[in-house]
């Protein structure tokens, strides 16, 4: 190998290594804005050019620039609302051509909603889970929640952007009920949520932010931890690849 070829190889390696740390920071920003309920800032992290930008929530996919922006910006923060999302276990693969990259992450965290008034499900997406506090005059939900995120990244005008995000819930439970029992208990809340949804059909006007209208169903639907199935291998682990045509999409 000539010195020039060696230098070229080093440059490629150095760039792909630097890419990895940029990608971890980019997805860290996504979680930071999520924790603050800043959907507009989350939208800025997505590709502005790809028509198929999307978030797959397991119970539906929000896809396209318009739908994604409407979904993310429809969520407004409430007093006392908090979403802890701490990224763990990063597995990141940058394509050899550096045009795209893939990442798999776990987010350990918690969700909090609190309201002085009896919560309306259009205003509070988890209203069915919010209970009257036995001691204080408020309604609240305090959950542990762990997610896995599979992410396709794309380089756009020299900058890394989010392209496809797939979120799969590992477990969710109230702070005082374990996730095995809650996987059974929560079914009644899901039925309540469906019962409260107008039977004429779902529209953005009649549904709360997370009782959203998906662009299309999820290709691998998943409703969260269950004792009736093994843990799903979803999202899959990325593997080394040369160009995006060789790999799968989240």
């Amino acid at each position: 190998m000539t010195q020039m070829e060696q230098a070229d190889q080093m440059l490629r390696d150095a760039r792909r290594t630097a890419d990895r740390w940029e990608l971890e920071s980019l997805f860290g920003r996504f979680q930071y804005y999520r924790s603050l309920v800043q959907g507009g800032r989350m939208m800025e992290l997505f590709s502005a050019e790809k028509a198929d930008v999307r978030i797959d929530l397991g119970n539906g996919v929000i896809e396209g620039q318009e739908d994604l922006r409407a979904f993310l910006t429809s969520q407004k923060p409430h007093r006392g609302e908090m979403h802890g999302r701490t990224l763990l276990n990063p597995l990141v693969e940058v394509a050899e051509d550096r045009a795209t990259a893939k990442g798999l992450f776990v987010a350990a965290g918690h969700d909090t909603f609190v309201s002085y008034e009896k919560p309306d499900f259009k205003e509070y997406p988890f209203a069915a889970y919010m209970h009257k506090d036995p001691e204080y005059p408020l309604y609240k939900m305090t959950h542990w929640v762990w997610y896995k995120f599979g992410v396709d990244f794309i380089r756009e005008n020299g900058e890394w952007k989010l392209w496809h995000v797939r979120r799969v819930e590992i477990m969710r439970c109230p702070y005082d009920e374990d996730w095995i029992d809650f996987s059974i208990t929560r079914q009644k809340y899901e039925i309540l949520n469906k019962f409260r949804t107008p039977w004429q059909g779902l529209t953005r006007e009649t549904c709360g932010p997370l009782n959203f209208v998906p662009t299309r169903p999820s290709p691998e639907p998943w409703e969260g931890y269950t004792i009736t199935r093994p843990v799903p291998d979803n999202p899959r682990m990325p593997e080394p690849y040369a160009t995006f045509a060789e790999t799968f999409e989240y």
Partner: protein, 250 residues
Amino acid sequence: MRLEERLDSLKRRVQAAKDRGEVANVFATYQYYHSLIYDGKTVEEIYAQHQPDVRHDWGGVLEGLDELRRYYVDRPRYNGKLICHFLANPVIQIAGDGKTAKGYWIAAGHECTPYPERPKITGPDGDPVGPRLEGPDKYGIYKFCHWVWNKYGVDFIREEGKWRVWHLRTSGMIRTHFSMDWIDFSLQNHIDDRLCALATPLEGVPSKPLNAPPTYPSPNPPQGYTIAEPVAPEPRLPEPYESFDETFSY
């Protein structure tokens, strides 16, 4: 410094940075496999294939590929079984000669297995969890549902251009039932250990993978949380080193 020397120095630095990302990916994959109960893949894809002393020390040592297979392959994959040990706080050191690496992580996580009826402790269908089970709960489910934090010290070795796990040492930080603090659990666990010992046949434990007896006892057995001792500085943190003979083994 001559151009050749500068290029050589740069090459080593770029390679070490690239290696750091690859080592992180290898151990992240180990944890994703474990969480999916795909441990059988771990022996062939993650562990070193050409080191007679390849080992996992989790309080007893399994050494050699055949011994690791005895422990990892065909681990039971129940409906609802969930293992989450996801990595945080990485401290990674690549050897100056680029042949080995060391890593230290903390995993924040949890584990659970629900059982439709109380499992037997011994025999081919036995489960060593036995006396540690809760239940039956309000839904009639026997289960354990634990918060688990572990520490890991790992030696990696490069084999045929790929990083592999060579020595793995796991040390428990805390483990506790979902709704019990880890101080009380450490006391209860002391009793449960003796109940498990009482339930174990004198002739030795059955050949069930989770009951696998170690190849030899751990030279420095990790204790997990106890109120009787200060927190042990185990596994040790890696420090910069040039070649493996200068440093310690996990």
